[in-house]
Symmetry: C2
Subunit: 232 residues, 2 copies
């Protein structure tokens, strides 16, 4: 299996980074090929703009998605976008590794999605969800939080974290056609003991060994919607 | 009323920009003071990093939230963060104006939140939701989408958009203590006629005139949770 890990944490000594390193070690030991995009280390530019396009379908007006499609056809996407797309195309499994910032991804990772998940390859028209451009690939979120488990569960003060992460789990990974595995969360990590951190790492390694059997999230199916995307 | 509009669209001719301009005109005509942070025009840096801090509580390890608190006390936040914080402090109403990118904000706006909503001022410890640092201020999201209304409603293929936007509506604006007004959505805007766009703009202006009476979203209250944030 080819694995791409997209990692976004500004501190190399972070627990989030330790989880990413554990994933690299465990998946490599299991015989998989692992590639890491460490966005902070790469100084990745997260801002979608006209500079992403080597040619333009319309010079006068920037419709970002239309220019993505034009530049896919013209093979003229910015080199950093093309490089990340090549990694995605080669991957059977994509892991997103990040600390929860405001109940979603840090901006540097959100911008990786904005710029790299291009219309014309990743999705387009009715090519979404089970018809999405990345169908056949799997994806998994690995996120760390300051909050405790009970604060991020159904009935808790913030509500269920997997529900809250719908924009990335369903709206991005599922939308692109990927099979979305149940996320792994490391809770309260800035505040727990070294011993507790080791226990979380051990649990994570054990779960990675069973990744083939990991629970998947249910996504919408185009078969249930008509040509105008209305429910059948 | 002092109004801050934080706007994030790469195309000045966009319909999203027309909505922002309509808000400026309408609110100014009603006697309010309006300030705009146009993040693309400002070339705003959305990447949270050690460079955001003029001094450090810990030189060896970057805990971003702890360094925010340290730099608030030391008055040594990066000048661009301090400038945006000053605008928020002066504002009675904050509008976020953006096109929906992957069912959330474009990265440049997500990074404005990541960097500017600092621990120690905007929130901290139990100072969240109705105890949040921005209590007394109001906030409203103005978002444009490519999708149609029925695709972004309960039972639709993508589900209810206001539910999907929970990370920003509840997890950010509500978490910070702001009273969150019902969002305004412009649907399907890249594909509708000029006449239809004018009708959306007219509807938006009319709704802004009644902003004092606008529906608000229900947020969690700290009064319903114990010292460990467990439900009472």
């Amino acid at each position: 299996m080819n694995v791409l890990i997209v990692h976004a944490h500004p501190e190399p000594q972070s627990f989030t980074n330790a989880l990413k390193d554990a994933a690299v070690a465990e998946l490599t030991a299991a015989g998989h090929e692992v590639v890491v995009s460490d966005l902070y280390a790469m100084n990745f530019n997260p801002v979608a703009s006209a500079a992403d396009f080597g040619s333009r379908g319309s010079e006068d007006y920037l419709n970002y998605a239309l220019e993505q499609r034009h530049n896919v056809k013209a093979n003229s996407l910015a080199p950093d976008i093309a490089a990340e797309l090549a990694k995605i195309k080669a991957a059977d499994l994509v892991l997103l590794s990040f600390p929860l910032y405001w109940f979603s991804m840090p901006a540097i990772l959100k911008g990786w999605i904005d710029r790299v998940f291009v219309s014309g390859i990743v999705y387009g028209g009715r090519r979404i969800y089970d018809q999405g451009g990345l169908s056949g690939k799997r994806a998994m979120v690995i996120a760390t939080t300051g909050g405790r488990d009970h604060m991020l569960s159904a009935g808790g003060i913030h509500g269920d974290l997997t529900e809250t992460l719908k924009p990335v789990l369903q709206g991005t990974l599922g939308y692109a056609g990927m099979t979305v595995l149940a996320p792994f969360y490391g809770y309260h990590v800035p505040y727990i003991s070294q011993e507790a951190r080791e226990a979380v790492l051990d649990d994570f390694r054990t779960q990675l060994r069973d990744i083939e059997k990991r629970e998947t999230l249910v996504m919408p199916s185009l078969a249930n919607f008509d040509a105008e995307m209305k429910p059948l």
